[in-house]
Amino acid sequence: MGGLKPVRVWDLPVRLGHWLLAGGFILAWLTGDSEEWRLIHVYAGSAAMAVALFRVGWGFIGSHHARFSSFVRGPAAALAYLKSLGSLSPRHYTGHNPAGGLAILGLLALAIATGASGWLAYQELYGDWVASLHESLSHLLLALIALHLAGVAAGSLAHGENLVRAMITGRKQGATADDIRHSRPLAAVVLLVWVVAASWWLAQ
């Protein structure tokens, strides 16, 4: 870790969005089969989808490490990174590593697709197949979350860096030049308002 010190990496919308998405998914997953909790399921799933939609936009206009252009690399880079994890000197990235970056794309896509199919099923716009699709997508999403958690654990161990804490504090090991300097609290307020408004509208 020569020359590296804790710097600000994840802005507030990234962190708040991450935990809202995680919480929304957990709540929606637990209430999926219940009619008594149906409204909670719909609100939680809608909120999760709203966060994912916001995150896509934030991937273009957010702070440096939040942008897709800073962390989306090809599958070859992801493989090379995963291989380096097994070595004595795993390659460290200040922002997302290439494998984590791919997982994020998959998680966002699945969160949006699961939410959209759930909304279609709730509106009863198509047949029963939409509800089946919604269930299948939610299972895929759960599987990818498991992979994501395994990656977080592996990355944390390999780099001696608590990545869960980093998603709370926003700080990771990095060069001073990588510091985002501003955590964009105003955008986090916009995110909150958007999530409340979008989930209220979607649950109608």
Partner: protein, 136 residues
């Protein structure tokens, strides 16, 4: 030469074309299962109706089937939580009901767990379907 192979393929594919079940067929499979557990079992619409209206109390907001499906399953129901309309359960009023065994079992599993607080027995399901087939 390929004709027999095509015939075999077609025959194999026919069950996959989802030959929809009838409510009678779905009823009979539950009757057969109930009779295995209780020899001499015969489905009763009367018992089915009692089950349909019984307040199990496992769920405070949804004590009975009839909470959402109303006292007359030949009429549209209303979801007590979401206030959404529910199409009639009785095949006489809604021909789609009890024609897809996977869907039937899925909803028995989910709703029994929530309203009755356990899985429903084959006998209870048979009585339930018998009642719904007869109700007008």
């Amino acid at each position: 030469m390929k004709f027999p192979a095509i015939c075999i393929l077609l025959a194999a594919a026919i069950p996959g074309i989802a030959l929809a079940e009838t409510p009678q067929q779905i009823l009979q499979s539950h009757v057969a299962e109930a009779a295995r557990q209780t020899p001499g079992f015969s489905p009763s619409a009367q018992r089915g109706q009692e089950f349909f209206g019984k307040k199990f109390g496992a769920s405070e907001k949804m004590p009975a089937c009839s909470t959402c499906h109303t006292d007359n399953p030949a009429q549209a129901g209303r979801h007590i939580i979401t206030k959404k309309n529910i199409k009639p359960l009785a095949p006489a009023a809604n021909a789609e009901r009890f024609t897809d065994v996977a869907k039937v079992e899925k909803w028995f599993r989910r709703n029994c767990k929530e309203v009755v607080d356990r899985e429903c027995s084959a006998a209870e399901k048979a009585d339930f379907i018998q009642y719904l087939i007869e109700v007008r």
